[in-house]
Symmetry: C2
Subunit: 364 residues, 2 copies
């Protein structure tokens, strides 16, 4: 009598369209991968933390499809989202004799997805890849939209590509093994979708935070599905981030400054995004774009999720310098995603002086 608990989000990008499967018990069910084009070999790229938990289970399911299944295990952490790790993947692919017909499976969190996706984009000028995100952040964020990248010493995600996967498999059962701090960090992006695109969803989050924090599978599935739907809709209309897609960077200008300023890996990305959203909401209210009540509501939900509301004391000048390096900056002017109403946001150029009050307020 029970319905199939798997939900499907279609990401509509013409010839590069793909599906996101969301639900429990997906990762090691061979049928999950039935729609992939046949191939003779695949490579699972994962990290030392995820490998002992899920690599064998995924490999066993994939051996029913591929004659050869390699596993490439990376070091864990944002600090390793760099050239060395990218080289390690290339060396693993070359060493395994992988060719244009090989499919790469990115098994892990956002870092694995970003760097493995970028490797897939570049290896032989592009091989097929599948995202199997195992963190909440990766399931709701990096698994949709085809952004792949590594960090440069001077900026996060400075080197990368837009490259779409063939399929995304978001198995919510994998969230069972996620440290609580990472679950909370993932909720930051979930909150973001409500704040910038769907005020009713923001209300649902507010009412279901306890269930989400307790890892209720039904609540998590709903949160992941709705987040992916919102992101898929935005990305489908703006694949290369020329316009509306920018709203998905709500909180990210501040967040990138926090992450770079404290050294990548000190704050989790989601933690920085949580604080960054509260800051961007504050800035939006200071600019008169939304009422103070709406800005404080966003900050309250961020805080209730267990995300930080105080920014690190990097010094005002350092903040401004880091934000001028942001990819959205053009011609030296800073651009921020700003709230424009409940469930509405847009990109705006902001004078550095206007940002100063927000920074000082959150660093107090």
């Amino acid at each position: 009598m029970s319905a199939d608990p798997t939900s499907i989000v279609h990401v509509d990008l013409g010839a590069r369209s793909y599906r996101i499967l969301i639900g429990p018990a997906l990762l090691d069910t061979p049928g999950t991968y039935d729609d992939l084009a046949p191939g003779h070999s695949c490579a699972i790229v994962t990290n030392e933390t995820v490998a002992p938990l899920y690599a064998d289970r995924l490999a066993r399911a994939l051996r029913e499809r591929y004659a050869k299944v390699d596993v490439i295990t990376l070091r864990d952490g944002e600090a390793h989202k760099d050239w060395l790790t990218l080289h390690a993947i290339f060396d693993g692919l070359v060493g395994g004799g992988c060719d244009r017909g090989t499919t790469l499976f990115a098994l892990g969190g956002g870092v694995v997805g970003d760097v493995a996706g970028f490797a897939a984009a570049c290896y032989m000028r592009g091989i097929a890849y599948v995202q199997v995100p195992t963190t909440l952040l990766a399931q709701v964020d990096s698994s949709v939209g085809g952004k792949t990248a590594i960090n440069h010493p001077h900026g996060k995600n400075l080197i990368g590509a837009f490259y779409q996967p063939e399929l995304v498999v978001a198995d919510v059962d994998t969230l069972d093994t996620l440290p609580q701090r990472e679950l909370v960090a993932g909720l930051a992006e979930v909150i973001k979708y409500g704040a910038v695109a769907d005020d009713a969803f923001l209300g649902w989050i507010e009412g279901n935070l306890a269930a989400l924090l307790a890892r209720d599978k039904t609540a998590l599935s709903h949160a992941v599905t709705t987040s992916c739907r919102i992101k898929a809709e935005v990305v489908a209309n703006d694949e290369r981030e020329a316009g509306r897609r920018a709203i998905l960077n709500f909180g990210h200008t501040f967040a990138h400054a926090i992450e770079t300023g404290t050294g990548h890996g000190t704050w989790l990305h989601g933690e920085a995004v949580g604080c960054g959203m509260a800051m961007a909401a504050d800035l939006s209210a200071r600019l008169g774009l939304v009422g103070r009540v709406q800005a404080e509501r966003v900050a309250r939900i961020v805080g209730a999720a267990g995300l930080p509301l105080r920014a690190p004391r990097l010094g005002l000048e350092r903040y401004l310098e880091l934000m001028r390096m942001d990819k959205k900056a053009q011609g030296g002017q800073m651009r921020f995603v700003l709230l424009q109403g409940p469930g509405q946001a847009g990109l705006g150029a902001v004078d550095p002086a206007q940002v100063t009050d927000t920074i000082e307020n959150f660093c107090a």
Copy 2:
């Protein structure tokens, strides 16, 4: 009374379409760049050999369009088509404060075009770029089709992207400063277009080799224009090299083995392609796909252009090993572009034993 000597080839790739301008006196004429989208800054990526000849002239023309013109000068040579050089470009772009609104100009031969194009593809997930090829090889080959790449210790062009320029400016006056050996190497690709796609053009080349070798501008312009037209037509129908575009790799499986086997930079790419075409023509005749007369005609034109007809003695096993690493190989089987008639070619899987006679014949 004289007509504008500039010819234009349209590369039709939908939203990624662009034009190739071919003729004399283009590089330092500001009007050449009139159709580019406005921008506040640009970066010229060139090498230590080309910079003293053309960087200032190009920079002067570009200063009429861009408030800021940076020049990033790389070391010269295929040996530097690697990670270090790519990093040097990223560091130069970051150091110059380049952002998503910056346009990159690749000024030089195929190596500069490939590595600078790949840098443009990856920097901030893709910035606009313009190819200004200054070698015959780059004008007829790497300037069309959007293939960008660097080498990996285990394979040429193993890491890269398909990424289209906004514009290509092929100024045939820049061929005046090209060493004769490089002019000859460029002719290999010109001969290739005739051999695989246009038998009448192959006849024209045969009859005009003397004029081409003497750098007659009218002959060179015709050769570049016809080559680009053929390549543009093939690429427009197969941007990501799933099918017919593969014919442009005629001679390249042998050539890549020669280049990797002798160490990149020992043979010029065009020299390896010249010899590789004679070998692939020989293989085609051995397989009964074309008559011996057609295979020998291709070899005769290659030789008359001054290109090598003897392959380096790497040993049979090493050749086979290198060719199995070729990007066209799938599931361990070697695939070659083979002649199928005058001005006709196609891709075919070939048993290693069948390749042996050709290798031994050319290494004798």
